[in-house]
């Protein structure tokens, strides 16, 4: 890390967030808050069947309703391309075509078929109900087992089967490892289908100006720059005429890491009707039509010696893609594949992922995106292996941690830095010893409660991604760099323009802290601009716990570049050699003559006046950096969970949750803790409550927040957070991502604790009371 002087609100300080006030007072500006002159409203007619041919669309009744401007179908809106997918892991994968508005065929309940454009949203909704769609039902494919069965109907006729992609990696010695193992531990572990549920649904306002042919799209998105590029491609217009804006965004969690059919439809509809068009997704619509996540089954097999050394792993994952490929659908199970060995040095592996189409909503990134699946499968497997060997769950982990970093896994990833024993030690220090726990367990039993505790030791790959890796190893269309501009104004204030696109992560605060540390410009004098492609250099957005490690580093480097240039100007002003200047707290001073000094603000003014500039130095202090990381980063940690299970009902209460995480250096500990809290509770939601379910007819059963249970404050415990610090060598700040850590770590910790309480080998999530009660009946629990 650069040598810096810590100031009031520089790196490492728990600075309160500068973005809060507008949100606290109701002055945030989310997409639905936007009103444009002449703006019309869009409602969408969606498929009621999981698989059908469209035999006709009757729009006349809807068109006849007062206030309706247009009813548009797939025949009315022309697109130059289908909904894009930017991931092709093998480079050979066929991407099935998906027009933004269905043409003749629908493949999941909720697929857009037609849109109504009307004067207000009430009228639009009424008219959408008046559109009559004729369907000829086709056999639907539901569930990966059915999709893989012989003679299964096909989701996409242009493909040979419902298998979209198979990824495989096998080391030479894996059969030998299994042959000489003392024990082989096998398990099938389901990671259920989930729905993201950011509290703000998706929404878009598209404004196509017929006079200038400019398209401005304001969308609740995590990736405005991708959106602009894809709007240009799909709508067939010059990218230079397209401006995408992410306003305040009410949560994402991967749901908004996409370029969706509705964004293209709104843009095309705006062009068609010559007016701005707003579409705000209803919650029950979001459940049906926004990407889902997870939906993966892992068949795990660990070969180990009797003293707990894992010799080899066979892992076969089956991923439900849903009906189409969204922006990063194939990447998700690829990340599972890459992280399959988790935090363990497993020398021999045989890993395979079979990806399958079904007639359901496409799956894509959901907080953690592939890594929670990998972590859950390996962590549960390690628990089961410990059980079979009669070894403690902590000891088996310790015996298999990598001993040196950087560590290259059998998959070929290089884990940049780590000390897994350190976080586990810290967790154990914070937890009750065996005897105390045993006593408390007896006391709980007297109250009819089964006490259990569990843990996970997790590692993830994040900070996506070196562009060569993006292309060559992952098969991604875009690179993985990030950009930032740092601009000093003549009055001494600074503006940061970032390609990241926060939606709760507090980048305005953290990026200001980085600038204060690097330039000595006070935190409150720094403004951060993001989310508007008209202002920002090209950026890649916020996802995959990348913003700080890649985007924050870009800010740091741009600030460093500003400082380097300022040094030259300051040297001229002070009539000294640049090398003779000290810089600290925003002040350049001549070494040995501390009263010969000037401030960064004075230098900014001089650089704006630009007279008497040093030879070869251009006016202004305004630097832009594109940073392409040399590696990903690998945060890690150990989470411990304690539960009380009601013996008579099976209801689980989490009574203690301790997170010990290591994300390298920390810019703002308050924000880091907040990310962990949110991530852990998201994972607890998966472990205990959440599951997206389709019935045998392909209808989504969990179509509202009455049926899809996301936890409230009353349903989750206090979360205790602790840290160790192992800096990353991958970036000059020494930082790693933390936004997904809690979600990755928590599901296996909770399941481990419940299994411990009821004496079960393993249980599938979510752990609803009935399932746990059944396990108690079968298991003869303590």
């Amino acid at each position: 890390m650069a040598a810096t002087v810590e100031q009031g609100k520089g790196i490492g300080v728990a600075a309160l967030r500068k973005e809060d006030r507008k949100f606290l007072t109701g002055r945030g500006r989310y997409v639905d808050d936007l009103k444009l002159p002449g703006m019309l409203h869009m409602a969408i007619v969606r498929s009621q069947f999981p698989h059908a041919a469209i035999t006709g669309i009757e729009t006349s009744a809807a068109m006849a309703m007062p206030g309706v401007t247009a009813v548009l179908t797939g025949d009315d809106l022309e697109f130059a391309a289908g909904v894009p997918c930017a991931s092709n892991p093998t480079g050979q994968m066929v991407h099935p075509t998906r027009p933004p508005l269905a043409k003749g065929r629908v493949r999941h309940v909720g697929e857009p078929i037609a849109v109504v454009i009307a004067a207000d949203r009430y009228t639009a909704r009424d008219a959408a109900d008046a559109v009559e769609v004729g369907y000829a039902e086709l056999p639907a494919v539901l569930g990966v087992e059915a999709a893989l069965a012989d003679g299964a109907p096909r989701v996409h006729e242009e493909l040979d089967s419902n298998v979209g992609l198979v990824l495989a990696h096998r080391t030479d010695g894996v059969d030998e490892a299994f042959a000489r193992a003392d024990v082989v531990c096998e398990a099938t572990i389901r990671n259920q289908r989930l729905i993201h549920v950011p509290i703000e649904t998706r929404g878009v306002v598209a404004d196509w100006n017929p006079a200038s042919d400019e398209l401005v799209v304001t969308s609740s998105t995590q990736v405005p720059h991708f959106l602009r590029t894809f709007l240009a491609i799909v709508c067939g217009v010059s990218e230079a005429k397209v401006r995408a804006i992410a306003p305040d965004v009410g949560g994402g969690f991967g749901a908004k890491l996409n370029a969706y059919a509705e964004e293209f439809i709104a843009a095309a509809a705006s062009r068609k009707v010559g007016a701005p068009v707003k579409w705000i997704e209803e919650r029950s619509e979001a459940m049906l039509a926004t990407c889902h996540g997870r939906a993966q089954i892992a068949h795990m097999s660990l070969a180990a010696t009797k003293d707990g050394k894992v010799l080899g792993m066979r892992a076969h994952y089956v991923q439900d893609y849903g009906s189409y490929l969204q922006m990063l659908t194939p990447l998700i199970s690829q990340l599972t594949f890459l992280m399959s060995p988790g935090a363990y040095a497993i020398p021999e592996v045989d890993v395979k992922v079979t990806n399958v189409y079904t007639n359901t909503v496409p799956t894509d990134a959901l907080r953690g995106a592939g890594r929670p699946e990998a972590t859950h499968a390996i962590e549960r497997s390690m628990d089961m292996l410990a059980g079979e060997l009669g070894m403690s769950r902590t000891e088996i982990r310790r015996r298999n941690f990598p001993s040196e970093f950087p560590f290259t896994s059998a998959i070929g990833l290089q884990y940049d830095s780590g000390d897994y024993g350190k976080t586990l030690d810290r967790l154990l220090e914070l937890s009750d010893d065996r005897e105390t726990f045993a006593r408390r367990r007896e006391e709980a039993a007297a109250r009819g409660k089964l006490l259990g505790r569990g843990l996970s030791t997790w590692v993830e790959v994040c900070g996506f991604v070196p562009s060569d890796v993006a292309r060559n190893a992952l098969g991604l269309t875009p690179g993985g760099w990030e950009s930032s501009t740092v601009r000093m104004h003549p009055t001494g204030k600074a503006t940061v323009i970032t390609g990241t696109s926060p939606h709760g992560q507090g980048h305005a605060t953290s990026w200001s802290q980085i600038v204060e540390t690097e330039l000595g410009v006070p935190f409150d004098d720094v403004e951060v601009i993001h989310g508007d492609t008209a202002f920002a250099p090209y950026g890649l957005g916020t996802y995959g716990s990348r913003s700080l490690a890649v985007g924050g580093t870009a800010v740091h480097l741009a600030a460093t570049k500003v400082r380097d240039k300022a040094r030259l100007v300051a040297a001229q002003m002070l009539e000294a050699s640049p090398d003779d200047l000290d810089f600290s707290g925003g002040v350049f001073a001549v070494k040995g003559s501390p009263d010969k000094r000037t401030t960064i603000q004075e230098v900014a003014f001089r650089a704006w006046q630009a007279f008497g500039m040093p030879e070869g130095v251009t006016p202004g202090l305004d630097e832009t950096v594109f940073f392409d990381p040399p590696n990903c980063v690998f945060p890690f940690g150990a989470h411990g969970c304690e539960v009380e299970v009601d013996r008579d009902t099976g209801k689980v209460e989490i009574t203690s949750y301790i997170a010990v995480d290591d994300c390298g250096n920390v810019v703002n500990p308050m924000i880091v803790d907040g990310q962990v809290h949110g991530g852990v509770v998201h994972g607890i939601g998966q472990a205990l409550y959440e599951e997206a379910e389709y019935d045998s007819g392909g209808q989504l059963v969990t179509g509202t927040l009455v049926d899809y249970l996301i936890p409230s404050a009353a349903d989750v415990p206090h979360i205790e957070t602790h840290r160790t610090v192992t800096p990353s060598p991958t970036n000059p700040l020494g930082v790693k991502g933390i936004g997904e850590a809690g979600t990755i770590a928590s599901t296996p910790a909770v399941v481990s604790a419940v299994c411990d309480a009821v004496g079960a080998r393993d249980l599938d999530m979510p752990l609803q009371p009935m399932k746990v009660w059944d396990a108690i009946q079968k298991g003869g629990a303590r």
């Binding site: 379910e693 249970l709 409230s712």
Partner: protein, 272 residues
């Protein structure tokens, strides 16, 4: 999110309201707190042509201590029931059930009359009324009648109220040894199962939520309780039950919950 169009009436008296219901016929629905009806309308699962909003009829609000029983106006809200010291002491089964409905904002709008007239099999108050052997007053264009709890609930979302009758008041006896035990997954959820227990010396009345299309009296358990044996009673709580099976609970699990929750409710009621 957006209800279909409807006509809106806001009568100032029960008589006017009943007259409006009759004149508008089957397409009219009564709007009280709106916390069952409006969500269904927003999902377009219900689409009444006319809403008759009785919210302005202030005489329908309030809890009156009438000696051996309470007279409760239909528009009395769950928050009023849960916060009533009077009910907390003399009819805790009603106060405790109301305190567990939905969430604070829902309890600030939802009403006792609305919940009973809705007759949702997972709603808590129908079982409470049955366990208390309470009764409701129904007023229509043809006059006023009293409907005992046992005759009110007819099945899934169905009561014996006529389409032009309005549930105006609820009468429940005082029952200081009573409670409601609800079992759900998240705090704000509907009951997977619930038990209302009212103990009076050697006898008990027990009614169950969530195990049938309407609240179910656990008569075998009541008989087994005679003399105060909560464990005996609980063991019989699922006798004759034919509960539904769904994602939240199989029929077997619901039978089991009926027994477990009955024991808890009886012990709490006796202790209370």
């Amino acid at each position: 999110m957006i209800p279909r169009e409807f006509a809106y009436e806001r009568p100032e008296s029960v008589a006017d309201a009943a007259g409006l219901l009759r004149s508008h016929g089957d397409g009219a629905r009564v709007l009280a707190g709106g916390h069952s009806l409006l969500p269904m309308m927003k999902l377009r699962l219900a689409a009444p042509e006319t809403l008759v909003d009785i919210g302005g009829i202030s005489s329908l609000r309030g809890i009156t201590d009438a000696g051996s029983y309470f007279e409760i106006g239909a528009l009395t809200r769950h928050a009023d029931l849960a916060g009533s010291d009077l009910l907390g002491l003399a009819c805790p089964v009603l106060a405790s059930a109301a305190a567990g409905i939905g969430d604070p904002q829902v309890r600030n709008r939802g009403t006792i009359g609305g919940s009973l007239a809705q007759a949702d099999p997972h709603g808590d108050l129908p079982a409470v009324l049955v366990a208390l052997d309470g009764e409701v007053t129904a007023e229509g264009p043809d006059g006023t009648r009293t409907i005992p709890a046992r005759d009110l609930f007819r099945g899934f979302l169905t009561t014996s109220l006529a389409a032009d009758e309005i549930l105006t008041a609820v009468r429940v006896p005082k029952a200081p040894h009573s409670t409601y035990v609800k079992f759900n997954r998240r705090a704000q959820d509907w009951a997977i199962a619930g038990v209302a227990a009212v103990v009076d010396g050697d006898s008990a009345r027990i009614a169950l939520t969530g195990v049938g299309a309407a609240p179910v009296r656990a008569e075998a358990a009541e008989r087994a309780f005679w003399g105060g044996n909560a464990a005996e009673a609980a063991a019989r709580a699922a006798d004759g039950l034919d509960p539904p099976s769904d994602a939240a609970g199989s029929a077997d699990y619901r039978r089991h919950l009926a027994r477990v929750l009955t024991l808890r409710a009886l012990e709490e009621a006796i202790g209370g």
